[in-house]
């Protein structure tokens, strides 16, 4: 990014901050702030100017208007002395944060073949899964979760209730492990059925797979798998069970028999698990795992576990995309299209010189530039290419 481009982008970002009402986080005065500017280091070296604090909304707003930063962050933590050195800040608590980013959702091998639109779609699916965990398992009311488009390739969720503020790093790690199914042990959910009258117990009654928390997902995975193999041709089904359950042919056949046995299946569907032999249960567990692992989520775990993280200010701009870090409503999340809804710049034509081949679809229009080409594109597309570092201002 050359100086002329920096000047242009800074001016545009500044205009944005002058016309926009930015979101003020709770406990404004107790948060640490950090900014990366379009300065002479940018973008070769990102210098974070941190340990700042604002006591009043005006101060923050003016700071953004005057500096038009490339990136604006505030601490997830609240501190007694937010401007002090890390060791002396006096940590008082922190919001609970989740970060879903393409890097963690999509494998490296797939990354190359995915388009930006495709990437955003996958991350959205993971975000919907996370919302389900937070609403139904953790019981956070929807209005206490702030869902935010990260401005690039992911989403953030902020939870700022008193209840979670005091959680330490270990506790947050447990929460992340929960949504990622890390350390999940199926047998923890398997208990003797307490409904069976104690007098009649013979030790051979069905066990219960408790359909709560991960138990319900485990049960669902098990049922889905058994239905799937029941619907296959025998040869193919046995091959599938052998590979997924890592077991020999004889045992695989036995599992297939279970899947085809209507009375056993109707018990399993109610969460009643017959007392199978260890090797059969092991095979079934592995098979269920192959299914339920798809229900696990893939957030960036260290972000959640870190109690002193800086996170992007919702409503600020992302300096690598020019898109808005946009607060979203869970109800309308399904319809959100970042390349339409997080675009904040206008349509007047701007001349740019491409330095690399690149393409983007914004507001339903596709733009493609080739290296050394001079192109006249709408302001929002121009800012995207400039911020991306694939073009300079003409």
């Amino acid at each position: 990014m050359n100086d002329k481009t920096k000047k242009f982008v800074t001016a545009k970002f500044g205009e944005y901050y002058r016309r926009t009402k930015v979101e003020i986080p709770t406990d404004l005065g107790m948060r640490e702030w950090g900014f990366v500017l379009f300065d002479h280091y940018y973008p070769a070296k990102l210098v974070m100017r941190r340990h700042k604090a604002f006591t009043a909304e005006d101060e923050l707003v003016n700071h953004l208007r005057e500096n038009a930063p490339a990136h604006a962050y505030h601490s997830t933590a609240i501190y007694k002395y937010p401007t002090a050195k890390m060791a002396e800040k006096g940590w008082l608590g922190a919001d609970l944060i989740f970060d879903l980013d393409a890097d963690h959702v999509i494998g490296e091998a797939e990354f190359q073949s995915y388009t930006y639109e495709h990437i955003l779609m996958s991350v959205k699916e993971e975000t919907l899964k996370l919302i389900d965990f937070l609403l139904n398992d953790f019981g956070f009311p929807g209005n206490q979760m702030e869902l935010v488009f990260s401005g690039s390739r992911g989403y953030h969720i902020h939870i700022e209730t008193e209840q979670v503020r005091g959680l330490g790093s270990r506790e947050r790690r447990e929460i992340v492990d929960y949504v990622m199914a890390t350390g999940l042990d199926i047998n923890s959910f398997l208990v003797a059925d307490s409904k069976v009258k104690s007098g009649k117990k013979s030790g051979r009654e069905d066990l219960m797979l408790i359909p709560e928390g991960w138990g319900k997902r485990v049960l669902k995975g098990l049922i889905v798998f058994l239905h799937e193999i029941a619907a296959m041709e025998e040869k193919q089904a046995i091959k599938e069970v052998k590979s997924v359950g890592a077991m020999e042919r004889k045992k695989a056949k036995e599992i297939l028999r279970i899947a085809n046995d209507e009375t056993v299946m109707s018990r399993i569907e109610k969460g009643q698990i017959p007392r199978f032999s260890d090797s059969i249960w092991q095979g079934l567990s592995k098979s269920a795992e192959a299914k339920y692992s798809a229900y696990a989520d893939k957030p960036d775990a260290p972000v959640t576990a870190d109690i002193k993280r800086l996170i992007r200010l919702p409503t600020s701009l992302h300096g690598k995309s020019s898109l808005q870090v946009k607060p979203l409503s869970i109800d309308t999340f399904d319809d959100f299209d970042p390349l339409v809804d997080a675009v904040v710049f206008g349509d007047s034509l701007i001349e740019i010189t491409a330095t690399r081949n690149s393409s983007i679809t914004m507001k339903g229009e596709s733009y493609e530039v080739e290296e050394d080409e001079v192109a006249s594109v709408p302001e929002h597309a121009a800012l995207y290419f400039l911020c991306r570092g694939v073009a300079e201002i003409k």
């Binding site: 890390m86 060791a87 940590w91 139904n136 398992d137 953790f138 019981g139 956070f140 209840q163 979670v164 005091g166 959680l167 330490g168 790093s169 270990r170 506790e171 447990e174 929460i175 492990d177 929960y178 199914a181 890390t182 350390g183 999940l184 042990d185 923890s188 959910f189 307490s194 408790i210 709560e212 928390g213 991960w214 138990g215 109690i307």
Partner: protein, 354 residues
């Protein structure tokens, strides 16, 4: 609350309750009386016995209490034991004592609760845990659950393995009582060691000397294996050895690996300074920064006291390097150390081989 609960015969068995400390306060017994008056000699002897039982048996045996006077002595022996353990300045002893008290309370609670269900309500209220009681189970908010299960490492306690619905964790009653033990541990550990004036420690030297003697003898008999005073690098797991050798050679080590090695060594009881020494060869060494980080991991700054990462976490972050056959048997680097320490050849045997 039921009236008899405020009585000393009940309180003396749960001396960490806030109503118990209130009772002591109102009884008029002063610190001076407690440490020197002949009236309280029985309380002092019992206080000493509490700690000796902790050292020898790892649990504190509750005596039969019939009269109010007996109950008061039993009750007052608790604050005296806290003073004693504080004067001795031994972090391992403090932990062992607190754990023994908590275990004793847990056993008693199990027995009492089968006779009188109300006592669990009382405990939940005491520790401000918002519990819903059902016939077969209880439910508690996951936030409280996480707070009190920090030291419970069995996989069954992991949140992911619990029935969690709408923010509430389901527990069997026995499991909830186990969690109360953790709350009790936390309560008793709070403020220990107390800041006892030197003059007071001097006045009760007779008691502390007896305890120190017992402590030494026990350590001699059983070795220091459990206390982790031996810090023999030969017993470190390969992952930790690998990180340490990289640090020694000045190779830059990732944040995750630094965390792992620091937490591991802190868990073994190395001091802040000993650990900072290890980092001195790092290319980016800054003493102040390192001290800050070590303190943070040690939990000295309002954060959680960290336990070294488990084998699973080490694997996730690519730090499980050089795994050997002992690694097969353990799921935590600290257990590698414990296991190897336990199986180390005794000195005499080593001699015989030589």
């Amino acid at each position: 609350m039921i009236k008899w609960r405020a009585e000393s015969t009940h309180l003396c068995f749960y001396p960490f309750l806030s109503s118990a400390s209130k009772y002591v306060e109102e009884s008029g017994a002063t610190l001076e009386n407690l440490i020197s008056s002949a009236t309280f000699e029985r309380a002092r002897l019992r206080g000493k016995a509490r700690i000796l039982e902790a050292i020898k048996d790892g649990v504190i045996i509750k005596p039969a209490v019939i009269t109010n006077a007996q109950a008061e002595m039993e009750l007052l022996s608790y604050p005296f034991a806290r003073i004693l353990v504080s004067c001795i300045h031994d972090a391992h002893l403090v932990r062992r004592y607190v754990l023994s008290e908590a275990k004793a309370a847990h056993e008693l609670l199990l027995a009492d609760s089968s006779r009188d269900g109300d006592i669990i309500y009382e405990m939940a209220e005491e520790f401000s845990i918002h519990v819903d009681f059902f016939r077969e189970h209880v439910q508690m908010p996951f936030v409280d659950y996480l707070r009190f299960t920090a030291n419970l490492h069995d996989k069954k306690w992991k949140l992911v393995n619990r029935g969690l619905e709408k923010g509430r964790v389901k527990l069997e009653k026995g499991e909830f009582i186990r969690i109360i033990q953790e709350a009790i541990y936390e309560r008793i550990m709070k403020d220990l060691p107390l800041n006892v004036p030197i003059a007071v420690c001097g006045a009760i030297k007779g008691y502390t000397d007896d305890i120190k003697r017992e402590l030494e003898e026990t350590r001699k008999k059983f070795g220091d294996a459990e206390c982790f005073i031996v810090k023999d690098p030969n017993f470190f797991p390969p992952c930790i050895t690998h990180i340490l050798s990289n640090l020694k050679e000045g190779i830059n080590v990732t944040h995750g690996a630094r965390f792992a090695v620091t937490a591991f060594l802190l868990n073994l009881g190395l001091t802040e300074d000993e650990i900072i020494e290890i980092y001195k060869n790092s290319p980016d060494f800054e003493e102040e920064q390192t001290r800050y980080q070590v303190r943070h991991i040690a939990g000295d700054m309002g954060s959680v006291r960290y336990t070294a990462p488990s084998c699973g976490t080490m694997r996730t972050y690519g730090n499980c390097i050089g795994s050997d056959d002992i690694c097969e048997k353990i799921s935590h680097p600290l257990n590698y150390y414990r296991l190897k320490l336990k199986t180390k050849p005794k000195k005499s045997q080593a001699k015989a081989h030589a």
